[in-house]
C-alpha cells in the first residue's frame, strides 16, 4: 500500500474513532491518549498526524466541507443551477453529510465554529474553503448576469458564513420530522437573501450612503475646514507666526 494512502487511512481512522469517543465520553473527556488507544496507535504515533485535539476536530469539519463541495461537482447540471439553488444544495449537502455523526456534531460544533481565545485559528482553514466555494458561486452568478457585482463582497461572505453556522445550530435543535423545519427555513431565507443580492439592494444602499455622506457630511467637513482656516488666520494676525 502506498504511504500516502496508508497515511490517509490512519488519519481517517483517527477522525472516526475521535467522533465515536466524543459521542460516548463527551468532548472534554476525550484525550489524545484514549483516541490513540482506540485507533490502535502508539501514544506518540498519533501526534504525527494531529498535534492537538483541536486539530483533530478542525480536520473533521475541514474534510467534511471539502467532501461536500466535491460531491456537488457530481450533481447533474449543477453549473446550470441558480445562485439560490447552488447555495441551498451546498448547505443541504453539508447537513446530510452531518446526519450520520449528528450527535458528534451536536457536541463539537460550537467548540470549532464559535471559538474563543486561542482556538480561534482552528476554524480559519474551514472558513477559507467555505468562502472560496461561495466566491466561485457568486462569480458564476455575476458572469451569467444573474446578479450584479456586489460592493462589500467580503462582508457578504462573512454574513453568509454566520448564516451557515446559524443554520447548522438550528438544524441541531430541530425536532421536526426529517428536519423539515430546517429545510423550509433554508428555502425561504435563501430566497430572501438571493433576492436582496439580485436586486442590488446592498449596492443601492451603498450608493445612497455615499450620496448622503458626500452631500451632507463632507459639505460640513468643508465648512469646518474653512472655519478652521479662518480661526488659523485670526490666530496668525493676533499672535504672529
Amino acid at each position: 500500500m502506498p504511504t500516502n494512502a496508508k497515511t490517509k487511512q490512519i488519519r481517517d481512522r483517527i477522525l472516526k474513532v475521535f467522533a465515536d469517543r466524543v459521542v460516548e465520553k463527551g468532548l472534554k473527556a476525550t484525550t489524545m491518549r484514549s483516541v490513540a488507544h482506540a485507533a490502535e496507535l502508539g501514544r506518540a504515533e498519533i501526534y504525527r498526524y494531529f498535534p492537538t485535539r483541536t486539530a483533530i476536530l478542525s480536520a473533521y469539519y475541514h474534510d467534511h466541507m471539502v467532501t461536500c463541495i466535491d460531491n456537488l461537482k457530481r450533481v447533474d447540471e449543477f453549473n446550470a443551477y441558480s445562485l439560490q439553488e447552488k447555495l441551498q444544495l451546498f448547505i443541504e449537502s453539508c447537513l446530510e453529510a452531518f446526519l450520520a455523526d449528528r450527535e458528534f456534531v451536536d457536541r463539537s460544533f460550537g467548540a470549532v465554529f464559535f471559538p474563543c481565545g486561542f482556538n480561534g485559528h482552528s476554524v480559519q482553514a474551514i472558513r477559507e474553503v467555505f468562502e472560496q466555494f461561495v466566491d466561485t458561486v457568486f462569480q458564476a452568478a455575476i458572469a451569467t448576469g444573474e446578479m450584479p457585482p456586489q460592493v462589500y463582497q467580503g462582508v457578504i461572505y462573512r454574513f453568509f458564513w454566520d448564516y451557515y453556522r446559524a443554520v447548522v445550530v438550528y438544524w441541531l435543535r430541530d425536532t421536526s420530522e426529517q428536519f423539515q423545519n430546517t429545510t423550509v427555513l433554508l428555502d425561504k431565507s435563501l430566497e430572501l437573501f438571493c433576492t436582496v443580492l439580485q436586486a442590488g439592494l446592498v449596492n443601492k444602499s451603498h450608493d445612497l450612503g455615499v450620496h448622503l455622506i458626500k452631500t451632507h457630511l463632507l459639505k460640513s467637513f468643508g465648512f469646518m475646514q474653512a472655519t478652521m482656516a479662518g480661526i488659523g488666520s485670526i490666530k496668525r494676525n493676533l499672535f504672529g507666526e
Partner: protein
C-alpha cells in the same frame, strides 16, 4: 405551468403579519355589525347580515389571497361551499387555483433524498429537475425509470400538512366572528380532511390502482403506479402522452371531437358512480389528458369519494322523478337522502320544497331531449347557479348530507367542463333512465 410568485409572503412572520392585519380588520367589522344589530328593524336584519357576510368575504379574500398556497386553496374550497363570496371574487379564486409556491431544483433533490435516501440520479435513470406541471399542492417532473419507462413524478413541498393545519387554524380564528360560523366550522373540518387526503400519496396510489383495475373502460387510461419510486410524499406513475383538456381546447378541436371527449367523461363519471360506487371528485380540466386518438388519461386521484350503495340508489331516481313532474316523489326522495331538517315552519317548508323542486326541474332539463346541446343553451348553467344561490338562502333549514355535497360538486364541475367544450351530451343513461 406556474404563474409569477412575486409578492408572495413566504416567511412565517410575513404570513403572520398578513393574517394579523386581516384578523384585526375582520374583528373590527364584526364589532361594527354586532354593535348596530340591536338597533336595526327586523326586516333589515337579514339584508344587513348578508351585507356583513359579503363584506367579510371581501376582507378575508384580500388578506388571504396574499398568502396563496394552501391558504388560498382553503379559500377556494370555502367558496364552493358558501356562496357568500361575490361572483368577482369567486372568479379570481378559480383563476388562481394552482398558485402554490414552486419547488426549486435543490429542494426537489432534498425531497427525493428524504423520501428514498438517495439522489435523483441514483433513483431514476434520468430525472428532469425542472417541473413540467403544477399539481395540487405540489408539482410534477418527468423521469425515466431504471427499466427505461417514462414516468411522471409528483412531489409535494416539505411540511405541507403542517402548513395546511396552521392555515386552517388561522381561518378558524378569522371566521369565528361571522354569524354563519357553526356551518363554516363544519365545512372547514371537511376541507381539512380533503386537503390532508390530497397530500397522502400512499392513499392516492391505492386509489389509482383501484381505478386502474376496476374501471375497465378501454378509452380511459389510468396511469399505473411505479411503487418502487413512490411513497407518502412522492408519487411516480407511468407517463401519459397528450395535452390537458384546457391545452387541447386551445388547439380548436372539431365539434365532433369535443362531443366524443364529453361523452367519454360522462361515461367515466356514470360508470364510476353506479358500478364502482366511487367517484373521482376533482373534475378539474388539468386532470384530464386528451390523447391524439381522443382517448382520455385520468390523473390526480387526491380527491376520491366512496359513496354508499343505498344513497346512490336513491340518487339515481332523482332526474327521472323530476322529469315526470312528480313533485311529491321528488321531495320524498330528498327527505330520504336526509336533505331537510325535520322541524321547519310549514310556510317555510313549502318555500324550501318549491325551490328544491325547481332545481330538480332544472336538472331534469338536461335529460329532456335525447341530446343536450351546451352550445345552443349557453345560459342554462347560469340558471342552475342562480337556483343554487336561492337554495343557499335556506341553508339553516337544509342539512345537506356530505355525500350529496360531493356528488353535487363533482356533477357541477363536469357540467362546467361540458359547457367549456360547448358539447352535445347524451344524459339519458341506463342507470338513471328507464329503458
Amino acid at each position: 405551468m406556474s404563474e409569477p410568485y412575486d409578492n408572495l409572503p413566504m416567511s412565517n412572520w410575513q404570513r403572520g403579519k398578513v393574517s394579523g392585519k386581516t384578523a384585526a380588520r375582520l374583528c373590527g367589522h364584526a364589532l361594527k355589525y354586532w354593535s348596530r344589530k340591536p338597533f336595526r328593524a327586523d326586516e333589515r336584519q337579514i339584508a344587513s347580515k348578508e351585507e356583513f357576510n359579503r363584506h367579510s368575504a371581501q376582507i378575508l379574500f384580500k388578506g388571504l389571497s396574499l398568502l396563496r398556497g394552501t391558504a388560498l386553496k382553503i379559500c377556494q374550497q370555502l367558496c364552493f361551499e358558501f356562496e357568500f363570496f361575490p361572483a368577482a371574487i369567486r372568479a379570481e379564486l378559480e383563476k388562481s387555483y394552482n398558485q402554490v409556491p414552486p419547488i426549486n431544483r435543490a429542494l426537489v433533490r432534498k425531497i427525493l433524498f428524504n423520501a428514498f435516501g438517495a439522489s435523483p440520479e441514483h433513483i431514476f435513470r434520468h430525472f428532469d429537475s425542472k417541473a413540467f406541471a403544477a399539481a395540487s399542492l405540489g408539482q410534477v417532473h418527468v423521469a425515466e425509470a431504471q427499466d427505461g419507462r417514462q414516468l411522471a413524478v409528483k412531489i409535494q413541498y416539505p411540511g405541507i400538512r403542517q402548513t395546511i393545519k396552521n392555515d386552517l387554524g388561522l381561518f378558524r380564528s378569522f371566521l369565528r366572528p361571522l354569524p354563519d360560523y357553526p356551518a363554516i366550522h363544519k365545512a372547514l373540518a371537511e376541507i381539512e380532511t380533503v386537503l390532508i387526503e390530497e397530500t397522502d400519496y400512499v392513499r392516492e396510489a391505492e386509489r389509482m390502482q383501484f381505478f386502474g383495475s376496476h374501471l375497465r373502460l378501454p378509452e380511459i387510461t389510468v396511469p399505473a403506479v411505479d411503487s418502487r419510486t413512490s411513497c407518502e410524499t412522492v408519487l411516480s406513475m407511468h407517463f401519459i402522452e397528450g395535452a390537458t383538456l384546457n391545452a387541447w381546447l386551445k388547439t380548436n378541436p372539431s365539434r365532433q371531437a369535443r362531443d366524443t371527449v364529453a361523452a367519454l367523461l360522462n361515461k367515466l363519471f356514470l360508470k364510476s358512480l353506479y358500478e364502482l360506487n366511487v367517484i373521482h371528485a376533482d373534475p378539474n380540466p388539468g386532470n384530464f389528458i386528451i390523447r391524439k386518438d381522443l382517448s382520455v388519461g385520468l390523473v390526480d386521484f387526491g380527491c376520491v369519494k366512496r359513496l354508499k350503495k343505498s344513497f346512490i340508489d336513491d340518487c339515481r331516481l332523482l332526474p327521472y322523478t323530476a322529469y315526470q313532474n312528480d313533485k311529491d316523489g321528488y321531495i320524498r326522495l330528498l327527505k330520504k337522502l336526509n336533505v331537510f331538517k325535520k322541524q321547519v315552519d310549514p310556510v317555510l317548508e313549502t318555500h324550501i320544497y318549491d325551490t328544491a323542486y325547481r332545481f330538480g326541474q332544472w336538472y331534469a332539463g338536461f335529460y329532456r331531449e335525447d341530446v343536450f346541446d351546451y352550445h345552443a343553451n349557453k345560459d342554462y348553467i347560469q340558471i342552475g347557479r342562480d337556483l343554487t344561490t336561492e337554495i343557499y338562502q335556506f341553508r339553516r333549514h337544509i342539512d345537506l348530507n356530505p355525500d350529496f355535497i360531493f356528488l353535487d360538486r363533482t356533477r357541477y364541475g363536469l357540467m362546467r367542463i361540458f359547457e367549456q367544450l360547448g358539447a352535445r351530451v347524451r344524459f339519458r343513461n341506463r342507470w338513471e333512465w328507464p329503458v
